[in-house]
């Protein structure tokens, strides 16, 4: 089963690279604009030897991590408040619902004015989107707890605090975990927007830099780097979810 999936993935990648190669070999477009796989590969080697491949990775991961953690903590706390206390729900829910359609990239100018071009503006842009994602899922999950669980808990004599810790939180945790997982993806999506606030390193910055030199081969390397990193992080969060929410998959 697993080996079949690995084989299928390999075939899919091979087919994709083959197609890419074939199209670029036809030279319908200038190879500068649509470089063949070997060109991209040598650009990757060049970036690896120059050290930017890993320094970009480190810088971007660091930014995503700080924004992610801050957003998750705030999102969880706000979700707890709005789902459990009617007052906070009335005050915050409409406001946050209005914020949700605002894309991270639209905040870039605001972030630059507020926080300058330092790291804070990047954390803000990433943290904002992560926060909204985690808030929504936490709020939803905690409000959706099945009535029977609460009834069972109460008629078994659980105090409100025990009900919260042993019933509400576990019952909501699949939603919360799903929120954290999509927030990790969101943090990555916003990274490139965040690095538009002016940076001297990071994968998003490198994309901008490559654009100035019209180095599409280097852009491809950065894009592939983003894709691989995002997929890896997602796999990690899925694995964590499986362990924490072990009862859901049974």
């Amino acid at each position: 089963m697993l080996s079949r999936r690995i084989a299928a993935t390999a075939v899919s990648f091979a087919a994709f690279i083959g197609l890419w190669w074939a199209i670029s070999a036809l030279e319908i477009v200038n190879p500068v604009f649509f470089p063949a796989p070997p060109l991209v590969f040598s650009a990757a080697l060049e970036m690896l030897e120059g050290g930017v491949l890993f320094s970009d990775l480190q810088v971007s991961l660091g930014r995503a991590a700080v924004g992610f953690v801050a957003g998750v903590v705030l999102g969880l706390l706000t979700g707890l408040l709005t789902s459990r206390i009617a007052f906070f729900n009335l005050m915050l829910n409409p406001l946050l619902s209005l914020c949700r359609p605002i894309p991270a990239i639209a905040l870039v100018p605001v972030a630059i004015v507020w926080f300058g071009i330092g790291e804070t503006s990047k954390y803000f842009v990433i943290g904002y989107s992560v926060f909204l994602t985690v808030w929504l899922n936490t709020h939803h999950g905690m409000s959706m707890v099945a009535e029977t669980y609460v009834r069972a808990s109460r008629s078994l004599g659980a105090s409100r605090s025990r009900e919260f810790v042993e019933v509400i939180i576990p019952a909501a945790s699949p939603y919360i975990m799903a929120g954290v997982r999509s927030a990790a993806a969101v943090a990555f999506l916003c990274l490139v927007a965040a690095e538009l606030t002016g940076a001297s390193g990071g994968i998003g910055y490198r994309l901008q830099e490559s654009r100035q030199y019209i180095r599409v081969d280097r852009m491809f390397v950065s894009l592939i780097e983003l894709g691989l990193l995002g997929a890896l992080l997602d796999a990690i969060f899925v694995a964590i979810g499986r362990r924490v929410i072990h009862w859901e998959q049974m």
Binding site: S155, W247, M250
Partner: protein, 261 residues
């Protein structure tokens, strides 16, 4: 069966209780018309009736999940105003906590008693052994069959030592064989604990196999229209029932058919 007289806790009185729900467009729906019901300590009462006649409403009322619009519900003379551990309930949809193992679920019911952890675990293990789940304590509800889940639910509820046990179609989702073995198990445990039981079902035979007394409910609005006593000795089977019970079955069926339109 006069064991009931030695136990004198677990008396439930439903005194002219009415339950109304706010329906759509502010219209009120009367789910339960003024109802009188008494459950004597240690008795086993069944409640049968067509779907939507208010059986669950009456149960949820006694469980303290609903407030009567009028009238009152009392347990041993004290009014019930909310869920209390003295009134236990077993739901059709199990309501086990899937994030706790079988053991964890039973321990959940014991946590309000300030026992030490070893004592609590020992009691939970004993309760699971009583329902025939020894060796399965560490499994999670998702790993158990429907019958086993309902066994855990029974262990959990009896571990909480309620005075009254309400059961809302607890075996409705089980196959015939599993259901028969659950009947045997329930009567076994009930004989030992002598909890007052109110058992909701829409299966007439199930009601007649288990209960001392059967209340028949009817729709529009929900109310008790007939009460029949079952005096056959236990264990009972469908084949060996007395002519009185056969007559009772025919009468209940007639009532349910005539109220089903």
């Amino acid at each position: 069966m006069d064991v009931a007289t030695v136990v004198d806790i677990g008396r439930v009185e439903v005194a002219r209780a009415t339950v109304e729900f706010k329906g759509v467009q502010g219209k009120t729906v009367t789910a339960l018309a003024p109802t009188e019901l008494e459950l004597t300590p240690g008795s086993f009462t069944a409640l049968v009736g067509p779907s939507g006649c208010g059986k669950s409403t009456l149960l949820n009322l006694i469980a303290g999940f609903l407030e009567p619009t009028e009238g009152a519900v009392r347990l041993d003379g004290k009014e019930i105003t909310g869920p209390v551990p003295d009134v236990g309930i077993v739901f059709q949809q199990y309501a086990l906590f899937p994030w706790f193992s079988a053991l964890g679920n039973v321990e959940f019911a014991l946590k309000r008693l300030s026992l030490g952890k070893p004592e609590r675990q020992a009691r939970a293990l004993a309760a699971l052994a009583e329902v025939g789940l020894a060796g399965r304590e560490r499994q999670y509800p998702g790993q158990l069959s429907g019958g086993m889940k309902q066994r855990v639910a029974l262990a959990r509820i009896f571990a909480a030592a309620p005075k009254v046990l309400l059961m809302d179609e607890p075996f409705g989702a089980l196959d015939a064989i599993t259901r028969a073995s659950m009947h045997r198990l329930l009567l076994d445990i009930w004989t030992r604990h002598r909890t007052t039981v109110l058992f909701v079902t829409h299966d007439i035979d199930e009601a007649l196999l288990l209960a001392d007394r059967v209340h028949v409910m009817s729709r529009g609005p929900g109310r008790i229209v007939e009460t029949l006593d079952v005096t056959d000795p236990r264990p009972r089977t469908v084949e060996t029932r007395s002519p009185q019970v056969s007559a009772a079955r025919a009468q209940i069926l007639e009532l349910l058919l005539s109220s089903d339109h």
